[in-house]
């Protein structure tokens, strides 16, 4: 136990030093595993998604082998097959449910909020979500579409009619599904908690204790769809802005609550729809960056480190991204020119990434080492850098991941 506690403290310090733009003892190395641990053990994705014990043992064995500077708790985003199945959700396809047994899950984008429903959402987002979004996103909750407006249930005599709806035959299946989902969620959280402890006993810090999105991303990803929100920027820009403003405090509050609940003061923020090419500079500064900046600042004020996964390329957004308090934000780059980012960010933000996923899945270990060397030489200079792949290790070859870990631990030591 003593060793684990010491290891945990060392790794936390290594990470925190990098984020604070100081020089750690060596370049930290952390990766986003996706279902790599299952492949590492020759198991199917499906088998671990449905078996909590197997997932725990498989992930622990993989982490024990690679000894990353942080672990990753797979349950909430990987062990959720039972929850998804009970809800009969339409927003994901997963192994054994629309995809083959060895595939990672894929997000299915739907226009679950129609263009003419902005006003409903703006008037009362909770009512919209319960009566429109939930039943459309989850087939098992279809009956909620018939529920009378939630906001009309005030004292008991106003709520009589609405309350009775819960007893209706069409609600019976949805009610049962909600209870079953709650049970599956409780089970999932139990395993997540246990795995958190297991990681701590292995000396592995958790990479994040909460999740948030830039409001424009949430609006686009889960409500309007990419095409929908892109057209909305032209057709109904005021509604888009109003909806983003409505979502901002929800994003902040849920992420802060989650970080405090888990005790891990880091929040994961993947960026989806503000990337280079996805909108103009003008649109970025109107619909995206102001809310993103406020989100980052609000989390920083709570003592939380935002870990921003900059998906795709964001070369044209780097100037804006710099505009945050120094040593507080971690930017993880996928296809952005990370060497240029280092130049622009070195006095401002820690950067992380970006061994290309393509290199890890189709390249050879020597190519991986050569790329890691360049990353450590250029991005690692003076600290403020964390080694990682450009995105998750989904399809990475084991020998390439091994090369990345071995090389970084050896060559990445600061003198």
């Amino acid at each position: 136990m003593g060793d684990a506690a010491q290891l945990l403290a060392e790794r936390e310090k290594r990470f925190n030093d990098a984020v604070a733009l100081n020089k750690p003892d060596r370049v930290p190395i952390i990766t986003m595993w996706d279902f790599f641990p299952a492949r590492f053990k020759g198991l199917s994705v499906k088998s671990v998604m449905y078996d909590h014990q197997l997932m725990s043992d498989t992930w622990a064995e993989c982490f024990d082998h690679f000894q990353p500077d942080m672990g990753e708790n797979p349950y909430a985003m990987r062990g959720f097959a039972k929850v998804l199945e009970t809800l009969d959700t339409v927003q994901l396809k997963w192994a054994g449910h629309g995809l083959d047994d060895y595939s990672s899950y894929q997000f299915v984008e739907n226009e679950l909020m129609k263009a003419d429903e902005y006003d409903h959402f703006l008037f009362d987002p909770s009512d919209f979500m319960i009566r429109r979004y939930w039943p459309r996103a989850n087939k098992a909750l279809a009956a909620l579409e018939g529920l009378p407006p939630i906001n009309q249930i005030i004292p008991y005599y106003w709520g009589l009619y609405s309350g009775v709806f819960l007893l209706s035959p069409e609600m019976e299946a949805s009610r049962a599904a909600m209870i079953e989902t709650a049970k599956a969620s409780a089970e999932l959280l139990k395993w997540a908690g246990a795995f958190g402890k297991r990681m701590a006993e292995m000396g592995l810090p958790a990479p994040s204790g909460g999740y948030a999105q830039v409001p424009f991303d949430t609006l686009g990803d889960v409500f309007r769809g990419t095409k929908g929100i892109m057209m909305d920027m032209f057709r109904r820009p005021d509604k888009v802005m109003a909806a983003c403003e409505k979502l901002l405090p929800i994003m902040i509050d849920s992420a802060v609550a989650s970080a405090k609940r888990t005790g891990v003061m880091r929040v994961f923020i993947p960026l989806h729809k503000g990337l280079d090419g996805f909108m103009s500079d003008q649109q970025f500064h109107k619909f995206y960056w102001p809310h993103m900046k406020e989100l980052l600042n609000a989390l920083i004020r709570e003592g939380i480190t935002p870990w921003v996964l900059v998906e795709g390329a964001c070369n044209t957004r780097l100037e804006a991204f710099r505009d945050v308090p120094p040593g507080k934000v971690l930017y993880h780059f996928e296809a952005t020119d990370i060497f240029r980012a280092k130049e622009m960010m070195k006095d401002r933000c820690c950067i992380r990434g970006n061994v290309p996923a393509t290199l890890l899945s189709v390249g050879a270990p020597e190519d991986v080492k050569a790329y890691c060397k360049k990353l450590i030489d250029v991005c690692g200079e003076g600290g403020g850098y964390i080694m990682d792949a450009s995105t998750t290790l989904s399809d990475a070859k084991v020998e390439n991941v091994q090369a990345m870990y071995d090389f970084t631990k050896e060559y990445g030591v600061y003198k």
Binding site: L99, S104, Q106, M233, F234, P356, T358, S361, S394
Partner: protein, 212 residues
């Protein structure tokens, strides 16, 4: 007509629809109106390359085209429609590969190819390799274009290229792969002739291949 080109290329959707209706009402042949949209698409494509326009403008352009086609339908008589297939510049077999269900990039490519004179056969998403190969035999395309956003797509893409090789067809057809994460590593692995991370550059490359 100039006004219509301007309205479409400036993303003034309402004006574009009104003008289209007005021109068709005045007896303007649908082919002429369609030409105005094509001219606008050229302007939009150029602005995209210059970094003035981005994906949202391409999507809006696609939507405006769709609305315009609907408006034109009642006015279409024999011979007034778009060029028959025989006049097309080349044949393009398009699809998102097996295991991947992303369609936005593929759809933009399809729209731009169509407006640039290609005969496009779109196989949809999550298309098995065998389906690509069967359709290759039936359709005899000049170019096979495979889309995929996920890294797992490379294996599926490679299967199609390997299949083309086995059929002895690899040197008779050009292969291009497209998607947010493709790069030279992926292109080499798959055995494609070219790769593109955006719709406009992919279409440009295809036009060069057929000598335009």
């Amino acid at each position: 007509m100039e006004e219509l080109v301007k309205a479409v290329s400036e993303m003034m959707e309402d004006e574009a629809i009104d003008l289209t209706k007005k021109l068709l009402d005045q007896g303007e042949p649908p082919v002429k109106v369609l030409d105005a949209y094509k001219d606008a698409l050229v302007v939009i494509g150029k602005r995209f390359e210059e970094g003035v326009y981005f994906v949202p403008e391409l999507i809006m352009a696609g939507e405006m085209m769709k609305t315009a086609s609907e408006l034109m339908k009642p006015y279409m008589t024999k011979g007034s429609g778009p060029a028959p297939e025989a006049n097309k510049k080349g044949k393009f077999l398009l699809g998102t590969v097996e295991g991947d269900i992303h369609d936005i990039g593929k759809d933009m490519v399809g729209m731009l190819l169509d407006i640039n004179g290609f005969e496009v056969k779109d196989l949809g998403v999550d298309v098995p390799a065998q389906k690509f190969l069967d359709e290759y035999k039936a359709f005899q395309p000049d170019i096979v274009g495979m889309s995929g956003l996920l890294t797992l797509a490379y294996d599926s893409m490679k299967k199609v290229v390997d299949g083309l090789k086995e059929m002895g067809a690899r040197d008779k057809v050009k292969v291009i792969i497209g998607g947010g994460q493709v790069d030279e590593h992926a292109c080499k692995f798959v055995g494609a002739d070219a790769w593109a991370t955006d719709a406009v550059s992919g279409v440009k490359c295809s036009l060069q291949w057929i000598g335009n």
